[in-house]
Amino acid sequence: MNITVLGTGMTVFGERWETSPRALARDAVKQAIVDSGCEHKHIQALYVANMLSGMLGMQGHLGALFAEELGLSVPAYTVEGACASGGLAIHTAVLGIMSGQYDTVLVLGVEKMTDHKPEQVSSALMGAGSNEERLAGATFPGLYAILTRSHMEAYGTTEKALASVAVKNHYHASLNPKAQFQKSITVEAVLRSSCVADPLKLLDCSPVTDGAAAVILSKRKTNTGVSIIASQVASDTLGIAERESLTTLIASTRASEKAFIQSGVSQKDIQVVEVHDCFTIAEILALEDMGFVKKGEVGNRISEGEFTLGKAKQVVVNSSGGLKACGHPVGATGVKQIVEITNQLRGRCKSRQISNARVGLTHNVGGTGATAVVHILRKDTI
């Protein structure tokens, strides 16, 4: 693979009441274009990642919409894979370049969630689940709560260990000026927060977020670049009931195994990862399922600071604050993960910079693991 990340951009994530999806997109894309040194005329295709616009805003056809908004008369595509839409759009864009069709493309992830009532957002997000799950009145917190309970029973994972994921990610977000929650929290605050779906509490859950992120990918090499060296996708059953195990997201394992083979790197070569922590349990599952730690061991190691900035032994997890604290505008998340890892590898993250970051990984999940997308990025040596 020979794909360069030429430029990145993202909006401030949060409750952006005053800002339209078009304005969010313009903001993120303008930053990416300036960062890349490209002009509009260099961009040959647009890939838009979004999940909810059709269901909540009655607006489909986002490829054409944003091509027009951004002044790009190029082929434009919308890619949807629930909360993995962003990662899937990056993957699709990579394929577009690898096919030889395009040299340089723009990927835009954008989501506007706060315009709608919480129960409507909750129902629309369940579009990522199975019909059986919808008829049961399941929610994503509820489905991940079922996985949490199984994990607790199988491995003795505690509510405190779950809380330590939120504490770490809020600490990282406190150093990120674009994060939704730029404040630290305590384990006690997580444990005291109201229950959403037992045993998951409010502060175990990622928020409802507005935001956009943009990335320009190219086969052109630069002196200060970052390359995508693996891009892989795997699928699993839409609903959780059909699965053999409720303590593993097997799609994460499969996508990461393929990505390690494709890139030739292994877990120990990686210094920074952005994983899909839509709920605290999801970060634990991600680190286990991709082989960074053994099943059942990760909980205590997170609370001991093993994956925290400044304390980490080997790999820092979710330096952006993750979905949990940087925010989770669902279609934008997978693109934002590429933005964060690229900025880490370029040494641009200021107070949350990981020293000597050379190789990074992104892990983006759709639904309860029916889609998993893994990318591995490497700092180019001059």
């Binding site: 919480p118 129960e119 409507q120 909750s122 129902s123 369940m126 199975s130 019909n131 059986e132 799950e133 919808r134 008829l135 049961a136 009145g137 399941a138 929610t139 917190p141 509820g142 489905l143 709560a145 079922i146 996985l147 949490t148 309970r149 199984s150 029973e153 109201s194 229950c195 959403v196 779906a197 037992d198 045993p199 998951l200 609903g239 959780i240 009931a241 059909e242 409720l246």
Partner: protein, 99 residues
């Protein structure tokens, strides 16, 4: 919302799933429900392994808190699933009840 045609099509499958027993594998109590379920909340949902080994995800009805645990025996029952649609068609579906 759910189309009346889809409700009609799904209801043909309900009979096959009735009268089965199984046990709870894992569960959660939904306190913040999606649209159309607010009158039922809080309510449990569970992954249930039926006697024939097939697994389903279903809402638990007629429950007491001490019946929410791994291994709890349940049977499938038919219940209204969600508020009626604008067309007035009431969607029914399979739920499970502790036994």
């Amino acid at each position: 919302m759910i189309s009346p045609v889809k409700i009609w099509r799904n209801q043909k499958h309900i009979a096959k799933q009735l009268g089965q027993t199984g046990k709870i594998i894992s569960w959660s109590l939904i306190r913040v429900p999606p649209e159309g379920f607010s009158e039922q909340a809080p309510y449990p949902i569970a992954v249930v392994e039926l006697t024939g080994k097939a697994k389903i995800l279903a809402q638990v009805v007629d429950w007491k808190i001490n019946e929410l645990h791994r291994g709890q025996k349940v049977k499938t029952v038919v219940r209204k699933t969600i508020e009626a649609t604008q067309d007035g068609v009431i969607p029914y579906g399979i739920k499970v009840k502790p036994i």
